[in-house]
């Protein structure tokens, strides 16, 4: 792809904090108008990457450009082209929602009338106009995050950075924020977001970079990533430990696959390509043989398991 079409581009980005290597060569290429996810466990280097791109932290080595500007040599131009929603919600609880937006508008150097007009537009876009006079302290988590998003959208930036936008939100709050991000992306804003959640990346992102130990080692579409992470697992648990080997034989017989047995948890588990078919087959067989089980279900690999899997795949 033509590099000038890339809104965010980094090469060999490196950052050291004392003895700790926080970034160890991050390469990102985010085309204009796409939503790109940085997925990784705690301490992977997601926030550090975003902070460098948002001109908050200087990198030790490597290049980074945002909207065509170099983050090191043209920070002022970069700041005019970005919006940042940090890991914490940076809104002022002592002002009303509307005053928050007008204050930020003024700091984006709009005149008073434009700042007010833009605040009203954003309150409407983010569905907050009814609460505009209230302190954000009285808001739900989702509303606070939406106000935070609104504050970062005052100049309709070319690039929006979102650092864990839904952490700490309940499912309803997450959906609200997802919806807001989708709408922004649909209008052409390039979004770079970090997340711990595979399902969130799946919902929002065009492409995902998996990052761990300061290095992004896989980049793929959500569907491709899920394929790599592996199949769903069918788990059957029993209350009576003596019944466990019988159940394991049954599951192996029905699926024809290798079954792992966890004696301590009293559970058998098997990776299945077609989860629903395997679940139905195993369940009806268990019912027919009248075996007593305590639980049966399909489970996606947890992110931890997925990381283990992906890391070993990448180093293989």
């Amino acid at each position: 792809m033509n590099p000038s079409e890339l809104t965010v581009r980094t090469r060999g980005l490196t950052k050291r904090y004392g003895a700790k290597l926080a970034l160890d060569g991050v390469d990102l290429s985010v085309p204009r108008g796409t939503v790109h996810g940085l997925l990784g466990p705690n301490g992977a280097g997601k926030t550090t990457t975003v902070r460098i791109l948002a001109t908050l932290t200087r990198s030790d080595a490597g290049e980074a450009s945002v909207a065509g500007y170099d983050v090191r040599t043209q920070p002022r131009q970069v700041r005019s082209s970005i919006g940042l929603v940090g890991q914490q919600t940076a809104i002022d609880d002592k002002l009303s929602a509307r005053q928050n937006l007008t204050t930020f508008g003024r700091l984006f150097r709009l005149d008073r009338a434009s700042a007010r007009r833009r605040a009203d537009e954003l309150l409407e876009i983010f569905g907050l106009q009814e609460s505009s006079g209230r302190s954000p302290k009285t808001f739900s988590g989702g509303m606070r995050r939406r106000l935070d998003l609104a504050a970062s959208m005052i100049l309709a930036p070319a690039v929006l950075f979102l650092d864990e936008p839904t952490t700490g939100l309940d499912p309803a709050g997450r959906r609200e924020v997802w919806q807001a991000v989708r709408e922004l992306a649909a209008q052409g804003t390039t979004v770079l977001m970090t997340t711990h959640y595979l399902d969130e990346a799946d919902q929002l992102c065009d492409r995902i970079s998996v990052i761990d130990h300061g290095r992004n080692f896989i980049e793929d579409t959500p569907a491709g990533l899920k394929r790599r992470i592996g199949d769903e697992r069918l788990e059957v648990a029993v209350a009576d430990p003596d019944a466990l080997s019988g159940v394991a034989d049954l599951v192996a017989g029905v699926t024809g696959l290798e079954v792992t047995v966890d004696r301590e948890a009293g559970r058998t588990s098997v990776a299945v390509p077609d989860g629903v078919a395997a679940l139905t087959a195993v369940a009806s067989r268990i019912q027919a043989e009248q075996i007593e089980i305590s639980d049966i279900g399909l489970r996606r690999p947890t992110l931890d398991e997925a990381f283990l899997h992906l890391t070993s795949e990448a180093t293989r």
């Binding site: 914490q88 204050t103 700091l107 984006f108 100049l155 209008q187």
Partner: protein, 298 residues
């Protein structure tokens, strides 16, 4: 379309999306300076709106000096003999200037706390990612703290008048006294900004009190250093707060102040001290605060 253009949203006014942020790119120093001042004022407005929306915070901040005034004047004051004319005599006149000076001195904690909170809550990051003047985060804090300090002084002066204190000097001297108080506060704003940037979180900032308390009290604020044991008296006399307190006692023509042989050289130079000490503090802490601010991007 170039990659640098902002993405317009459908509801957005056409002028807004196309206009570059003024005062950021290739503009002259003069225009950048003007914008920096405007950004500073926006932050000040934000802070003043806090006060307007939540006067109770302001009341809480003043609670401490008010309680101190009442306690020292009525509880300890009746036992103190600072003028040599008997216990309680002239103590209001002696203690009130001390009270003013201490309120200014303790103000550095408010500054430090506010800065740490800004950092902790992610405001500092948001501001620094915006095309505004980065300096405005700090200058705006300073200006609003000075405004707040002036309001604090006026309130305490009101209480002082109620408990019987009078400024005995001319109008010019009285204004000069309040000027010196704000001068001390200004110097300590930079100490507060430096500490606020240095400190990791607001819990630590809350414990600054443990440092501030002895610094405030080992001074001439509530008792003349001459009445303290030797070394402590010397420390108290050389405390910058003492110079300001003694200087304004002179300017308020406090009875008994400046009478008799001063035991410490600095006691005789209160006015000079009240001007020089804050300047010295700023000479040290302005560069420290600037460096600490730049360290944020390390």
């Amino acid at each position: 379309m170039s990659t640098t253009g902002r993405t317009p949203t459908p509801t957005e006014g056409g002028t807004l999306a196309a206009a570059p942020v003024p005062g950021t790119e290739k503009d002259s120093l003069g225009s950048r300076l003007t914008w920096a001042l405007r950004d500073c004022w926006t932050i000040v407005e934000q802070e003043l709106t806090h006060l307007a929306r939540q006067p109770s915070t302001f009341a809480w901040q003043l609670g401490m000096p008010v309680v101190m005034v009442l306690m020292f004047v009525y509880v300890f004051g009746s036992a103190m003999d600072v003028t040599g004319q008997g216990a309680g005599e002239g103590y209001v006149d002696y203690a009130m200037p001390g009270m003013f000076a201490m309120t200014m001195a303790f103000g550095f904690m408010n500054t430090a706390f506010a800065v740490t909170l800004n950092k902790e809550k992610g405001f500092m990051d948001r501001y620094r990612s915006m095309p505004m003047a980065p300096s405005a985060v700090v200058t705006g804090r300073g200006v609003s703290d000075i405004i707040q300090a002036a309001v604090d002084l006026a309130t305490i002066a009101g209480i002082a008048l109620i408990v019987g204190w009078r400024a005995g000097g001319s109008l010019v001297e009285t204004l000069a006294a309040f000027g010196l108080l704000l001068w001390l506060r200004l110097a300590l704003i930079f100490v507060g900004i430096y500490l606020g940037l240095l400190i990791k979180n607001s819990e630590v900032a809350g414990s600054l009190f443990a440092v501030a308390f002895p610094l405030g009290f080992i001074s001439s604020v509530f008792a003349p250093p001459e009445m303290m044991p030797g070394w402590l008296g010397a420390v108290a006399a050389w405390n910058p707060i003492s110079s300001t307190a003694n200087a304004i006692r002179e300017l308020f023509a406090t009875p008994g102040a400046g009478l008799g042989e001063p035991s410490y050289w600095i006691d005789g130079q209160a006015l000079l001290g009240a001007v020089v000490w804050p300047a010295l503090i700023m000479a040290i802490f302005v560069p420290l605060a600037v460096r600490q601010f730049q360290n944020l991007s390390r």
